[in-house]
Symmetry: C3
Subunit: 358 residues, 3 copies
Amino acid sequence: MASPPNAPPTTWPKNAWYVACTPDEIAEKPLGRRICGERLVLYRGQGGRAFALEDFCPHRGAPLSLGSVRDGDLVCGYHGLTLGCDGKAVSMPGQRVGGFPGVRAFPVLERYGFIWVWPGEADLADPARLHPLPWAESPDWAYGGGLYHIQCDYRLMVDNLMDLTHETYVHASSIGQKEIDEAPVTTRLDGETVVTSRFMEKISAPPFWRMALGGAGLPEDAPVDRWQICRFSLPSHVMIEVGVALEGHGGYQAPADKKAASIVVDFITPETETSHWYFWGMARSFAVGDAALTDTIRQGQGKIFSEDLQILEQQQQNLLRHPERRLLKLNIDAGGVRSRMLIDKAIAAEQVPVPVDA
Amino acid sequence: MASPPNAPPTTWPKNAWYVACTPDEIAEKPLGRRICGERLVLYRGQGGRAFALEDFCPHRGAPLSLGSVRDGDLVCGYHGLTLGCDGKAVSMPGQRVGGFPGVRAFPVLERYGFIWVWPGEADLADPARLHPLPWAESPDWAYGGGLYHIQCDYRLMVDNLMDLTHETYVHASSIGQKEIDEAPVTTRLDGETVVTSRFMEKISAPPFWRMALGGAGLPEDAPVDRWQICRFSLPSHVMIEVGVALEGHGGYQAPADKKAASIVVDFITPETETSHWYFWGMARSFAVGDAALTDTIRQGQGKIFSEDLQILEQQQQNLLRHPERRLLKLNIDAGGVRSRMLIDKAIAAEQVPVPVDA
Amino acid sequence: MASPPNAPPTTWPKNAWYVACTPDEIAEKPLGRRICGERLVLYRGQGGRAFALEDFCPHRGAPLSLGSVRDGDLVCGYHGLTLGCDGKAVSMPGQRVGGFPGVRAFPVLERYGFIWVWPGEADLADPARLHPLPWAESPDWAYGGGLYHIQCDYRLMVDNLMDLTHETYVHASSIGQKEIDEAPVTTRLDGETVVTSRFMEKISAPPFWRMALGGAGLPEDAPVDRWQICRFSLPSHVMIEVGVALEGHGGYQAPADKKAASIVVDFITPETETSHWYFWGMARSFAVGDAALTDTIRQGQGKIFSEDLQILEQQQQNLLRHPERRLLKLNIDAGGVRSRMLIDKAIAAEQVPVPVDA
């Protein structure tokens, strides 16, 4: 169904693939989750495929996410109304369900280790628009990650990730170092991707990267060249190439055996105007068979990213209290500012009125 | 005092006896509780009788429920203003209280093991309108019960209890069984009582009823006939005759030594538009001297009824989010639908405008 | 800056010194606290002096109270914007901050063991208007105290402290006794101070005062004369002279070796319209070198004052539910009533419109 003309503007594009959950979250039973303002029940239905329906039983309004799956259909946990994967009523004990209203079904894809949902117009849902993640399907890469539920506008997280200057202050004991905010940052638009880069030469690696150098079989104390290349793409994905190379071997371009390189993976899924689901992780191309290292990295990254929570949530509260304030937009903020321009453009494109007689 | 003309409609009748609390709740000190939107202090006053006053000290507004009882009068716990059981000021140290405003007193009855309050017009409070509970005064019956505070409209609980189809889904491990939603249900109006009945023949008893058969000295594994007869009466009482009889002895009509029969007792007292006090219990006519069985049944019933809490509270949240949705009204919903019709009729009768010059 | 003409009335005067915190609260790191509706960051800056700025970083809106102090300047914990004690930007890595907006700085004083802030017009902040506390700078007095965060209008606490009748009811087991509400109370205005007094003769001391008598080296069981002299002064300070003297030695006027006398110290700092910071303590002129006694008194006082919390917070909730109710104003309420008159007069004086062309 098309958005009604004059629908109120939202703070996110709806016609896009968002990460809704990871497969383990629906392995045992249905999952209720709000995505882009829509309350969904996510579950494995017919053929073991993932599906998403509106989380509202048309019988008495109970959340379908409290129900269960039987023979691939979703059974309401209150009185047993059973819905198919298309949201239509299939059966109910003692009832003829032919005339029952259904619920909205949302397009779902499962790929790259995530369940993706399209909260907008189903007719426009195109698997080709899924963000490609080649590392996720390559045996040359390993991945580990987690999920945080954060009480702030998802765009504050985009800002955070597109300006890593904050590492010096928020993550001083792990990945922060003085050289970060001393190094110049450049921001550019590469097609539909905002790219913010920072390169540091001949520095000493901070604790997290010492650990990674050790994991990659390289000396932890050697001087290194370090890089951070942040890439924002719609609707709200930020992939950050990060790494350190032994000094003088070409930095970002250094051969694989002279560096520890990885991609910080960030899928930022809006829940409400002031909250989001943050799927974070790290994909790496070194020591890919070392599961213990994957765990160590995940724990380290999880701890580091938890340091952002308090500041982001309190920043949100401060902004809600002072809606009239204009914030500064410095050169270090260019990554976030440009990313928001892409978001605003995508939202505006969805607001084009649909002719009433269409 | 009469309701003002054009008073906003409420979701409950006010001129009725509601269960306010059980005697143990006011044994030690006054109790503050909101009933039908009114904040009350309940306490034992003159002659050990139960009384209910508005929970607001006319001196400085402190809740009277933080006070104490002295010589049958209620003493405010802040500065000692003392009120009689009629809500009038009796004394205060160093003050003449003759001109002090009083607080509203609500009619109260104590009977059948409960404290009942009449939140509406005191002039209309008639003890004869108290719901008769003959089992509560008979030595041939035993009773055990409890209290839950539930965050949903009390009418959702009425719906729940007047359609036991949900047992199959919500209480699958205790009293639910597939035969319930396969058996036809009939609903009828019997005077001012809505009656919904369901009978199942030659089935195997689910776990709760096996326990009850054992408690009644009958074989737990024998095939049984089972019945459920739900009776709603105003303002919001649901009495459910339930039981199992050894198969072929007449089911509901079977002689006492061939069955385990009881009455599920439900007093559903509105607190706000979206919350209520749920006094639940079970009265039984077998093994009435077995106090350990009373405890076992209470624990089992308490656990079963707690399974409804999550679904009712989340159903309420879903309905608040979607006030525009029309729910289905199926034949299984007839008990709740008809009960609400009685409620609506009682509310409407209270809304009749009082002539201004009356 | 002057208040805008037609600014909405508040419930507190802004041009006054309020206790903001104690020195230990800013010893380790900055403190975020809301005072009279203003969110402040309090910290030790240049020269070790205490300062207060608006708790909002002009860069991206993060709370400055999550930051740190470096070389006497306040560094935002998100991206390192550094502010001077006047609220102006001092530096930021890689930025020229000359044109950056600053934040509001609030006048601060440190004296008498407290950090005081002036939430109103900085131009009017006059150290001479600080409430004098001679005992705080005298070697003949000892002091101990604490801080409670209370969810009620600060004026309800003023009422509470200006009418000690409540001790009989709220503090029955420590300082309350029947003689309090039997003794007449007198209230008068002494310049800009409201004074409420109560004297009791030849009574037996309640538990708290027995402990104090023992601490002062006097017999705990002797009959005593007792006094309570409450003094309210703007903006919301209540100093209460309390004590007991061995009977017949002149009561309040008795020589020092015949009495245990102290000053209950109450600084009541508004946070919002319905919450406040309550700095309480006791200054005494007996056994001043006995640190263990200071601790014992602090613990006893802390316990007694915590008894007020529940009743004050529930009184607030009751008043919010019934804004239409007129409370009684008895003779015992005269202290609170007159104190509110001083408060209202001070607020009104601040509301005088400033000529637009001034």
